[in-house]
């Protein structure tokens, strides 16, 4: 990239960003050691050190460290010979996350790596994701599952349901795309089953669920934690009921939400919807993920009020409406979500916006909303 002169504003924002990032990555002792240096840097860049101090204190007082996650999702890979556009798109996302400096704590893959669940598609995806420098955490989507009922995916990536802890945050990954058997009564072949589920508007399938077994597992997994434990849950489908006709929907969402409601800082991050999507129900914040392959239109009904729509994508540009992004978990356990649209300005949906029911820190609106 050629070096273009940067405006004072740009430099100001970059320096501020750097300073913040640097501070977030310090442990408390180093923080104390360098805080005066950081303040000095602020002076050099022409800002009063005072302007940063409230933020420093807020960060330093949090229970844990800042955590940064990058995400890639919904790449819908065919084999390269059939469709290289989707392959180039995921490669672009891999480049994006590898360029992040500092590197994220991990890269989350949001499901639908494959388009038709075929071994060669999943293997291609696995091979591409090996290029990611940071550790990768995987989630399964319906396009990965319904050809062989998850056999190949699990062989490559392990169990679809798991949890882990990092920097004081508890993470849970669910398989939310379980459908009741509709294929046996209809006598469908595995590929017919796969194609039925792959059709977003195909009504021959059932609704997604997490299912009783996983709900029980989830309850047990969370039982040891106190209600102030920061919690991030990943599910492929949104864990709420948005629009049933397109499976923007999880049938037992209410039951899963009930398990999560006792936590004060809980965020659900979901794939599947290929768009900027925000919601807040009870204590729970919800964020969608962008797809690398193509954007979905907004559902004709049920769009959460808090969602600030992204621009209607331009069909003349195949990567418009696509992208990747980041998830910042603040030390206090709240999550800011960044949608890094490839063709547009990034959109950040901060925790403060959702927690204030849209009163604070509202992201900028589009003039090209859906209709």
């Amino acid at each position: 990239m050629s070096k273009t002169p940067k405006s004072i504003e740009t430099r100001y924002m970059e320096e501020r960003e750097q300073l913040f990032r640097g501070l977030h990555n310090l442990d408390r002792r180093s923080f104390l050691r360098v805080s005066s240096a950081a303040a000095a840097a602020a002076v050099v860049s022409g800002m009063t050190p005072h302007s940063f101090s409230p933020i420093r204190i807020a960060r330093a007082a949090g229970p844990g460290k800042d955590l940064r996650i990058a995400y890639i999702s919904d790449s819908h890979l065919y084999r390269t010979e059939l469709n290289d556009r989707f392959v180039r798109s995921i490669l672009r996302a891999v480049d994006d996350v590898n360029k992040l400096d500092p590197q994220p704590d991990f890269v989350f893959y949001g499901g639908d790596l494959a388009q038709l669940g075929q071994a060669e598609e999943l293997e291609l995806g696995a091979q591409i994701l090996k290029e990611v420098k940071a550790p990768v955490r995987m989630m399964v989507g319906e396009h990965d599952w319904y050809l062989d009922m998850g056999e190949k995916w699990q062989e490559l990536f392990g169990a679809p349901t798991y949890s882990f802890d990092l920097k004081g945050v508890h993470f849970v990954v669910l398989n939310s795309v379980i459908e009741e058997d509709f294929w046996t009564p209809r006598g469908l072949s595995p590929m017919e089953r796969m194609r039925t589920v792959a059709g977003l508007d195909n009504h021959n399938q059932r609704s997604f669920t997490v299912g009783a077994e996983q709900r029980k597992w989830l309850e047990k997994d969370l039982s040891a934690f106190k209600s102030d434990q920061p919690l991030v849950v990943f599910s492929h489908s949104p864990l709420y009921k948005l629009y049933k006709n397109w499976n923007f929907w999880t049938d037992d969402a209410d039951e899963v939400q009930a398990i999560l409601q006792r936590f004060k800082k809980v965020t659900v991050i979901h794939g599947h919807t290929h768009q900027v999507l925000s919601n807040h129900i009870g204590n729970i914040d919800f964020h969608g993920l962008l797809s690398t392959a193509w954007p979905w239109p907004y559902a004709p009904q049920g769009l959460p009020e808090l969602t600030i729509q992204m621009d209607r994508p331009d069909p003349f540009n195949p990567s418009d409406g696509c992208g990747d992004g980041e998830i910042y978990v603040h030390p206090d356990g709240l999550v800011d979500k960044v949608y890094r649209l490839w063709n547009r300005n990034p959109i950040t949906v901060p925790a403060s916006y959702l927690k204030s029911q849209g009163k604070k820190d509202r992201p900028p609106a589009t003039t090209r909303g859906s209709y």
Partner: protein, 219 residues
């Protein structure tokens, strides 16, 4: 179960043919493979079929069904996409005895006629739905169909045409935009305006937009 009118003569043909022994699939779909026990004399010897009454009718129907794998296509599309809005209800136009239409030749619409309008209109829409959802029928070279980006034809906005598209440098009609999406995201050859698939696609896209107010030029 509804059948298209066109397939009914075919059923008679096969039935007549099969009743007169081994003309096989020739009268059906052009298949020359033996398709049933009826066609295969060796099996017939071991287990002579009961070629009378209901059994005959059943076996003829079964053979016809094997020869017409696609016969239920409308039901299949309907089952996958039950929410396609139906065409307008014209039942109030069916003539009533003693009304003004009594004795007229041209202004009098029978129930059968009104039903035919509906069946024929809906059939074109269903054909469009099927093409819209099928990469094969669209002729894609990259495994992509319209529904992947336009579930239920969302965001196709047929009621906003004609409109000026900067990228195409002119005011375009719906079919021009369909062709744009065909050539670009779908990577298929463009369709002639008269291509039966284009006509069906337009029919489906309009049907899905039922109730939208016309607003040409809207972006």
């Amino acid at each position: 179960m509804k059948r298209t009118n066109a397939s009914i003569p075919a059923l008679h043909l096969v039935a007549a043919c099969a009743a007169f022994t081994a003309c096989g699939g020739a009268a059906g779909n052009g298949s020359s493979q033996p398709t049933s026990k009826l066609d295969d004399p060796s099996e017939a010897k071991e287990d002579p079929p009961d070629l009378t009454g209901q059994a005959l009718a059943n076996s003829l129907l079964a053979q016809w069904q094997r020869d017409h794998e696609d016969r239920d296509w409308q039901e299949e599309v309907r089952s996958a996409h039950p929410n396609i809005p139906g065409s307008a209800d014209n039942s109030a136009m069916v003539y009533v005895k003693g009304g003004q239409d009594e004795g007229q030749t041209y202004g009098r619409f029978s129930a059968q006629e009104v039903l035919t309008w509906k069946l024929e209109t809906d059939a074109l829409v269903l054909a469009g739905a099927r093409i819209f959802h099928s990469g094969d029928e669209l002729g894609t070279s990259v495994g992509v169909s319209c529904d992947m980006c336009h579930p239920d034809a969302a965001n196709t906005h047929p009621a906003t045409y004609p409109k000026f598209q900067v990228q195409l440098g002119r005011t375009i009609l719906l079919r021009d935009m369909i062709n744009w999406c065909l050539i670009n995201p779908v990577r298929a050859p463009a369709m002639e305006p008269d291509d039966p698939r284009m006509r069906a696609l337009e029919a489906y896209i309009f049907a899905q937009s039922k109730g939208e107010a016309l607003d040409y030029g809207k972006h």
